[in-house]
Symmetry: C2
Subunit: 412 residues, 2 copies
Amino acid sequence: MTSQPETVQSNGRHYAKPQAPVVVVCVDGCEPDYITQAIQAGAAPYLKRMLAQGSSLLGDCVIPSFTNPNNVSIVTGVPPSVHGICGNYFYDEAADREVMMNSPEYLRAPTLLSAFANAGALVAAVTAKDKLRTLLGHGLKGICFSAEKADKATVAECGIDKVLELVGKPVPSVYSADLSEFVFAAGVRLLETRKPDLMYLSTTDYVQHKCAPGTPEANAFYAMMDGYLAKLDALGAVIALTADHGMSPKTDAAGNPRVLYLQQELDALLGEASTRVILPITDPYVVHHGALGSFATVHANRAPLDQVRAVLCNLPGVEQVLTRDEAVQRFELAGDRIGDLIVIGDHLTVLGTSALRHDLTGLTVPLRSHGGVSEQKVPLLFNRPLRGVAPGRRLRNFDVFDLALNHASATL
Amino acid sequence: MTSQPETVQSNGRHYAKPQAPVVVVCVDGCEPDYITQAIQAGAAPYLKRMLAQGSSLLGDCVIPSFTNPNNVSIVTGVPPSVHGICGNYFYDEAADREVMMNSPEYLRAPTLLSAFANAGALVAAVTAKDKLRTLLGHGLKGICFSAEKADKATVAECGIDKVLELVGKPVPSVYSADLSEFVFAAGVRLLETRKPDLMYLSTTDYVQHKCAPGTPEANAFYAMMDGYLAKLDALGAVIALTADHGMSPKTDAAGNPRVLYLQQELDALLGEASTRVILPITDPYVVHHGALGSFATVHANRAPLDQVRAVLCNLPGVEQVLTRDEAVQRFELAGDRIGDLIVIGDHLTVLGTSALRHDLTGLTVPLRSHGGVSEQKVPLLFNRPLRGVAPGRRLRNFDVFDLALNHASATL
């Protein structure tokens, strides 16, 4: 890359070109305590060493603390107000229909991954689920595939084929820890064989939805991850690790889910069809959380906004209710893709529509979920010391590429 | 108790006299997930059965989510605005001194335990630490002793002597899980030998400050507790279990404590001695948390209140700042025993004064603490179904005697 410019610009931010391969890992649902507890239990010897020599910070993810808005924020370096993805779903009032935002046509900003590729860098992105691949890979002239559909990857679509052969593993089940392991294994093999300048690895939170930090199953997941991170480090990578969001139990002490069914409550108190509740966590993969998160948006329709807000504020389990303008201001959301109000549940409460519309039979263990402010704090970890980060700067998970490329020392 | 009135009144609330022995347990620092995870791990078979047949609810503790304000709220049935104990410390502006509130002279309301004893019931209270005994036992004509000083109990002072003989255990270390085990063991022996009508057992959070829910050490604690609860149940007790507060990790992912040193920040930004920060968690037992919790009060002294508030609101790690009036309104605090402002840290941040004034050498494991709104949700568990609890009622931990005496069925 000697003849190319020293920095790459994307969405108003400047990123230095990497001197060594840079690997940014987004560990889905990685509440910081998962790592703390894994280190405590002796399950993550590499992470322990990495953080003793490198950097450990916390950052704020974007609200709603869901997967898509945060992965897109990370790869664009900007919040949903700029890139437009503030959930999996929104309600298009003009067209009177609920719209899924899983496809790139809803993306309002290019990714920094595509900017680096356009500037001549070899860029690779591996996601666990295929739903993210099309968003993250939008416009990317490089390698981009999902573990879920690793066997379907073609050079034309994904910049690579024969992925199963490369990784030496079969296609994993979409509901398994193996799906994330495949992502790490692929990252290591890509670094060994293709030597990308910039790589983004994004896992799935199947394990985190089921297992609390420090439990044997959670520690096993982080031990697996630890082994692959050690390999990436041994291959000379600058590693940066963050999360799309945290994870909290959403149950009482007995393990019963604590669900506040908002549509049901609003229908009873204000009349049917007077409001419309949208749960932007809803997507085709809901078995492990029953489409229950701690964030909802509400369209007031035929009810006075103040009245809807007052009703919502009084419901036990509601932590805060903001108007569209307040939400746009506070959480940098795209105002045209949220309702008149946003509702955030408390740290032990998830928000549903109506009991009949949520299938909880898939919940074989006590519900753990995310979406609220209680899941906003995420790790920002680097296997290098950071230099020149302004004290008092509010760090975000979508600063991870800035920190890795502009502030992590290329050498220890 | 046939000739006595059917209800006992205390601080404006009415409590039915127990038909069977009622045991209320306050498990210090019992974040609900400790119980969920212990049940999941198979470590709490009695609790699993108890909650399948009885009742599992969550309630809000009082803020600050510290031990003394909450234990006192539980045994008085009223918030700090009535009983006056809103921390371990307050700053007496008139006398210009910091005052410890560990003794009963600061108590502004009698306990319901003393009211029951006065009405002829045999009442027993056992605390882990002696600091609580004098507050909880104030005015109580019954049995009241601490595990910490079990060997010092006399009939004159504690209504009982030869406690070690009764329990068959030595005096435990004040920093140990044994201190809490002694409380449970004493409860079982008291129920076997003295048959109190009403018993209050209050443990210490030594284990919860050190171990996350679901870890082997935490599960071992709850397995111990589970065994004693099963014995109390077998002896025919109506069991009600709650907590004084929850517990959160207060570290980054590497396990480093996240401390915001408020006095240091305010001194630097507003000038030395322009404000005074009080940490009401401070008490003589600070080894396991370094006197670091997520709540502080600030006296503005010579700085304009608006300016102090603005400075505090901008500090990373601060979740909310309220004026005295707002705090009295929102959290039912005693306005004369808090500062001009109260400050609440976010769920991963504790508030200190200055780095030099906190000894963190006792923190052998990643810091876990409490004090904020993030530790407000606590279990309310009963080995009986509850009847007649109004739907939508906001439950508090200090409703536990009301729920046990007025709403739990005497028989299954």
